[in-house]
């Protein structure tokens, strides 16, 4: 291809991508009645950043991350601004298909597609990428990013998190990462910088936890599609502004609670969402669930709850202890299916199901995401033993299967309603 035609192709992809985002936003915003007023911040944010190419976060050099296991705190402590690259666009999935085998994960393909297109303003200029070696596809994708000319730090993740050896391996990996950061940001991780980053992040997480707890209310105060959007905004938004916006949303939901407001029908079945992460604009399955009359009250995914729930716990505020505390936070509570053991994920799901009065679980697996596909068996068994029905959906970013999926999702929701009638 000539440079000229390549440039035209890139421009076309860029336009298509913006259109796809606009379409998704219209659906999220306009096809549901009574959205919280404070959600306008998030709808506007996505519109500006993903449809109109506005920049997002203020601050130091942008460092892209491809996984929730990359500690934002360390990047901020070194003066950088972390921005999560995990992409949800079908347009980008198609671009990335050139670099990956056919049967691979949409999310990894779309992320590579994004990095091989004209970068949107919120990623410009991208100083470097931190790629965690989690699943095979992400691990190999790190090399493809390097080939495309990006500076990539391969953050090595152990296959097991329960053993002392695994923990030590990860601590070394994190220490090495902290030491290498000045190469990306031009600044060292300092004691003061890290303490501030930990506190800033935990303030954001406290706001998120308040929002999370409000979703325990019956009837539900917030739809899951909005909750996912809030989580997705954390990928790229300015940390302080995001925290304020979440606090405003929390305050509005408190008022709605006092007014006896209900975000869905008062008897809408309560659903827990797990598996491959919904990333804007691919909120296909959450939207189908809520269009079918259910409400997503909690999630166990790395684009939302797994990313935000657990905060760093520090014993001693000196640099080395803080770095180790950061390492522990990003390993121990992580329920990613790449780890050998799935006990923590089962426990987390059963906990969420119990404390959020969940009536059914929807398990999304991106076609080609082997680890989520494989772990379905044991997770479903654990849910079955606890008497919680689970719907397994294998899908990707393409809109082709929406018709089929809507039938399956509706049938599942209807079966949850019938189950409730039976038990009454």
């Amino acid at each position: 291809m000539t440079d000229d035609s390549q440039a035209r192709r890139r421009e076309l992809v860029h336009k298509q991508n913006n259109r796809e985002a606009a379409h998704a936003l219209d659906q999220l915003e306009k096809e549901f009645p009574d959205n919280p007023e404070t959600m306008a911040y998030f709808y506007d944010l996505f519109r500006r950043v993903h449809c109109e190419d506005a920049p997002a976060a203020d601050g130091g050099p942008l460092i892209g991350t491809t996984c929730v296991q990359v500690p934002d705190e360390l990047i901020r402590a070194a003066g950088g601004t972390p921005v999560r690259l995990c992409n949800g666009a079908h347009t980008m999935d198609q671009v990335g298909s050139d670099m990956m085998p056919t049967k691979s994960c949409s999310l990894v393909k779309a992320t590579l597609g994004l990095l091989h297109s004209d970068l949107p303003a919120y990623l410009e200029p991208l100083k470097g990428i931190v790629n965690a070696t989690t699943c095979d596809q992400k691990t190999k994708a790190g090399r493809i990013m390097e080939e495309a000319g990006y500076t990539v730090h391969h953050l090595e993740v152990p296959p097991s998190k329960g053993s002392e050896a695994g923990r030590q391996y990860w601590r070394d990996s994190i220490r090495e990462f902290a030491a290498s950061l000045p190469g990306l940001t031009g600044r060292k991780v300092t004691r003061k910088g890290l303490a501030k980053a930990i506190l800033d992040n935990s303030r954001a997480q406290q706001a998120y936890r308040k929002l999370h707890r409000l979703r325990q209310e019956k009837p539900a105060l917030l739809l899951g599609k909005d909750a996912f959007l809030v989580g997705n905004a954390f990928f790229f938004d300015d940390l302080e502004r995001w925290t304020e916006a979440v606090e405003a949303l929390v305050a509005e939901l408190e008022r709605r609670k006092a007014d006896g407001f209900s975000a869905a029908q008062s008897r809408a079945p309560r659903v827990l969402f797990t598996g491959s992460p919904p990333v804007f604009p691919n909120l296909k399955v959450p939207v189908l669930i809520e269009q079918a009359g259910a409400v997503i009250v909690a999630d166990e995914t790395c684009s939302s709850n797994r990313m935000l729930y657990d905060a760093v716990t520090v014993d001693e505020w000196n640099l080395y202890d803080m770095v180790d505390a950061v390492a522990d936070r990003y390993l121990k509570p992580c329920t990613c299916p790449i780890f050998t053991n799935d006990d923590d994920r089962k426990r987390r799901l059963l906990d969420l199901a119990r404390s959020f009065d969940v009536e059914g679980v929807v398990y999304q697996a991106f076609a080609g995401c082997q680890v989520f596909e494989m772990e379905y068996r044991s997770i479903n068994q654990a849910l079955d033993e606890a008497g919680i029905p689970c719907l397994y959906i294998e899908t990707d970013y393409s809109p082709d299967d929406v018709g089929q999926l809507s039938t399956r999702v509706e049938a599942f929701i209807e079966s949850l309603k019938a189950r409730r009638r039976r038990s009454q």
Binding site: E410, A411, E414, S415
Partner: protein, 269 residues
């Protein structure tokens, strides 16, 4: 007198069922969906009422199901075809013993459903996206063999020798697959049997995902094909219950749900 109606707007056919207050099937009908599905659905319903001598006013509640369920605004309610199928099969199959698993092959999808004693859906599996091994494939294959759909069953039983393996049950590649086999010298009987076994194998895998429980009920248009039934019974190593109303079970279920919804509303005042 009160009547209830269920309309199942599928990809190939529109099915209507009319029931009374005791959930007895009063009349039923199936017509091609065609390209004007909305008009055809209205006409199918009107024709059924005319034939049954029932006035529209005495139909207290109308429930729509199938792919066109949401676009048929005349309905009082819509319900997914999986729930409607389960309810209809449970009732229609009651005389044959306890139905625990339902197989449905439609025009563009196939499903396996496991139900409890009351017809509530416990688990279900459905083919993803593509129409492989569904009624559409039978349709295409029959056309390429220059046979009527109804003849497929007879051809199946006239088989001498072993049927060929059909590797692809893809509705799009059916043509090249079938023509290829004809060119290799396979008889139409052999190819028909091969097609039935390949659909049966695919369907059996779907059934395995939900599990077999009690008697197995098989419905949808293709359940009228005796050859396919025989192949599926062989694959599942189990006798299947084939209802008289194989094609309208789901519409029948929708009519029962219409009666239930009407009763709930009347109770609520």
């Amino acid at each position: 007198m009160s009547f209830f109606a269920g309309i199942d707007i599928g990809s190939t056919a529109i099915k209507v069922a009319l029931t009374d207050e005791e959930d007895r099937l009063v009349a039923h009908k199936a017509t091609p969906t065609g390209s004007h599905f909305h008009r055809n659905a209205q006409e199918a319903l009107a024709a059924l009422l005319r034939e049954a001598g029932v006035s529209r006013e005495t139909v207290r509640f109308l429930t729509a199901t199938g792919y066109g369920r949401k676009l048929f605004r005349e309905a009082d309610e819509s319900i997914s075809e999986i729930t409607a199928n389960a309810i209809g099969a449970k009732k229609a199959g009651a005389e044959h013993g306890d139905i625990g698993t339902i197989i449905n092959i439609g025009g563009q999808d196939s499903k396996a459903i496991r139900v409890d004693d009351e017809g509530n859906v416990l688990q279900f599996a459905m083919n993803d996206k593509c129409a492989a091994g569904t009624g559409r494939f039978l349709d295409m294959a029959a056309r390429n063999l220059e046979l009527d759909l109804e003849e497929l069953g007879d051809y199946h039983f006239n088989l001498k020798g072993a049927p060929p393996d059909i590797n692809s049950t893809c509705a799009v590649f059916a043509e090249s697959e079938v023509i290829g086999l004809l060119a290799k010298g396979y008889s139409r009987e052999e190819i028909v049997a091969g097609i039935h076994y390949s659909i049966a194998k695919r369907t059996a895998r779907l059934v395995k995902r939900v599990g077999v429980n009690g008697r197995v009920y098989f419905d949808g248009g293709p359940a009228l094909n005796r050859g396919l039934v025989a192949a599926l019974e062989e694959e599942l190593m189990q006798e299947l219950v084939i209802p008289d109303i194989a094609q309208v079970t789901t519409a029948y279920g929708a009519a029962i749900l219409a009666r239930e919804a009407w009763a709930d509303e009347s109770m609520a005042g």
